[in-house]
Symmetry: C2
């Protein structure tokens, strides 16, 4: 069944305390390859039947209005996978 993947990340200009904590933990564990970590959400929406333009438009609307909080988050990706 097709799945629509929606990626939501904290806005770039905002602090991401969860990411900061993971970044600090990685450094303490000796992993210094990464200079920053940000953590967002990945939603998988399962669609019964075909993904047509209407379903995609609905997904975009749901992503913007329900799955993300536009004050602090950006929808960074919407893609269809099988």
């Amino acid at each position: 069944m097709p799945t629509i993947v929606v990626d939501v990340m904290p806005k770039a200009e905002l602090l991401d305390p969860q990411g900061k904590a993971v970044s600090g933990a990685l450094a303490r564990l000796g992993q210094d390859a990464f200079s920053a970590v940000r953590i967002g959400k990945r939603f998988e929406l399962t669609v019964e039947g075909e993904v047509d333009d209407e379903v995609l438009a609905t997904a975009r609307k749901v992503a913007d209005e329900i799955l993300s909080n536009s004050v602090i988050e950006d929808v960074v990706g919407i893609e269809v996978v099988e």
Copy 2:
């Protein structure tokens, strides 16, 4: 700067209560295009310099051992974006 994106999802055979809640909320709000919702995490690891095989191997190790809990989660994707 290059970024390594790590996607982590709850294992398919496990219930995802957060996803179930969102799925129920969507249905109550009149959005019935989606039959199921699962919610995972998206990590963005910023790399200073080039992403070579060694950095990618480190990212894979960190994804498996630190960013995900292999009892309940799967790493479903690791990709490099600019």
